[in-house]
Symmetry: C2
Subunit: 325 residues, 2 copies
């Protein structure tokens, strides 16, 4: 049976999720008009807000009945996520995100860099208000690792020799680490250190699966699929798992084409690359890895007490997989 997002995932924390917007809007208030305008623009362009939902569910799964602190943490997570997207769009020179013009396209790179900086600083400012030193340490270390993941990705661009191990380091930093902060942060705030590691493992594997799925969609989604177009990663010469696996599974001319496509970027060989990725079993391998990560995420939750929130976290992991089924 298909998972229903509203019913199976959002429902247990729906009212807190709605209340979270208040904190986000307070968070982006500024006496500088341009800061306000850009922040509002990018926050409103948000997607399904999976990270804050995961944060709220994790708090409830830890036994929290009052989610007022978790709401604030969820708002911080979403702001931090938004800040990284704003800088990512500058780095990738993207003009559109989820069908809306990016900050760099609407204003310019300068504004996007500085407002991104403001959002990072403001996230920390709101985090400090939660008055928890363990939480602050986890976040300050985590945001370093996120930045390192982004730089590692840049370093790997156009590098066909990139290994699956390096790919995992990249996606861990750029995607999984923030999911970890969302769930582990809730365990810290809830005062249930015994659930920290389990929730961290869940979010880490979930994030890995989520990013692998996203990278598969770059070679399978049709144009109608919201968000991503076929070939975005190839265009930029990003050695994602489908390409790394295709390189492993091929030799001769096919191998050469994939190798060259990563090295040069661009979409000249797009159709050929897609064909090789599909025929070489690289997509099957990538799907299997996404399923493995999802299973590891679900397994990690087993030490948490049975609850509606824990089930919602299961469903969230399963729902992500549905995108490639």
């Amino acid at each position: 049976m298909a998972i229903d997002f509203q019913q199976d995932i959002l429902a247990p924390v729906a009212s807190d999720f709605a209340a979270m917007d208040k904190f986000i809007n307070e968070g982006i208030s500024s006496k500088v008009a341009l800061v306000m305008a850009v922040s509002k623009h990018v926050i409103e362009a948000g997607g399904k807000r999976m990270r804050p939902i995961m944060c709220l569910l994790a708090a409830q799964a830890c036994g929290e009945t009052d989610l007022s602190k978790a709401r604030k943490l969820a708002a911080v997570i979403e702001m931090l996520h938004t800040a990284t997207l704003v800088h990512d769009d500058v780095v990738d020179e993207s003009n559109l995100r989820r069908g809306r013009p990016t900050a760099n396209a609407t204003w310019n790179n300068q504004t996007a860099v500085l407002v991104g900086d403001f959002l990072i600083a403001r996230s920390f400012d709101l985090l400090v208000d939660l008055d928890n030193m363990a939480l602050l340490k986890e976040f300050s270390t985590g945001t370093c690792e996120i930045a390192e993941g982004e730089v590692l990705q840049l370093q790997a661009q156009h590098q066909p020799e990139t290994t699956e191990e390096t790919y995992l380091d990249i996606i861990f930093g750029k995607t999984s680490r923030l999911f970890q902060l969302a769930t582990e942060g809730s365990a810290i705030l809830a005062g249930t250190p015994e659930y920290r590691e389990a929730l961290k493992q869940y979010a880490g594997h979930f994030g890995n699966a989520f990013q692998i799925i996203d990278d598969i969609l770059d070679y399978t989604s049709d144009k109608e699929t919201l968000g991503k177009n076929i070939g975005d990663d190839l265009m930029e010469g990003k050695p994602t798992l489908p390409l790394i696996a295709a390189l492993k599974n091929t030799s001769g001319a096919d191998h050469e084409i994939i190798y060259k496509s990563i090295a040069t970027g661009g979409l000249d060989d797009l159709e050929h690359v897609i064909q090789i990725v599909q025929n070489s079993g690289a997509l099957d391998y990538s799907r299997m890895r996404a399923q493995e990560e999802t299973q590891q995420a679900i397994d990690a939750l087993s030490i948490l007490p049975d609850s509606i929130a824990r089930n919602a976290l299961y469903h969230l992991a399963e729902l992500a997989l549905e995108r490639i089924q």
Copy 2:
């Protein structure tokens, strides 16, 4: 008698200043090679490290004899300063800073944006290790205001109607606020809350004077002066104090030329603009304002006990003024 930097300012904290480099180098260590290379490049391009010196002097002026915590704080201040410079150079599209190629010029904008993010995150990470919630709150709020100041500056670009009040808001955010964190932070760490406000006032006025002086030099320095070239601000249409004062003091054709130069940017009218700025009394007014701010900085220190470190802080303020004398 001219102030000697080594003797009159640095001497009281010279050994701690030397030891601070250790923390900076530890701070920028990363398992990602590109993060390391860029961080090292930009940290080494540092100037006189006035902010960390001020931080160390403030700690000593508060009566601290063991500056081991202050050293770490000084390293954080310098890293945060470096992070803002890296992003500033992206925003200003600068290729050179203090005669060395910038990060965006040596690598690219993408790398500079992301390594800047890493340095911001790492600064907070090191700050959290100092384990002081009041310090963290001051820094998280302060870094928001710094980012706001930078955006305000961007917003004011090409705006000839910019008031002196707005100019002061800009320079407070982009320059003075970090000086404040350097000195007030030391008072917090030293456990001498009674000196917080005085040191904050000192640094705020010092920063204002420092930036006004910098903005004066944009219309008076010769090419040999390290760092700044005549006309850099004018090129970018930045309404700094010399131009704001020139607009106030002129009418007719002269007024028109200044007005248009801010609105359009560029250096077509450079010689004419310099002439008007000098003849209209705008430079005299700007120098007077720098002197006033310096005096207010010095006056603020009067509640601190007499000490070698306090005298060094006086000298530091006086030395800054020497650049325009």
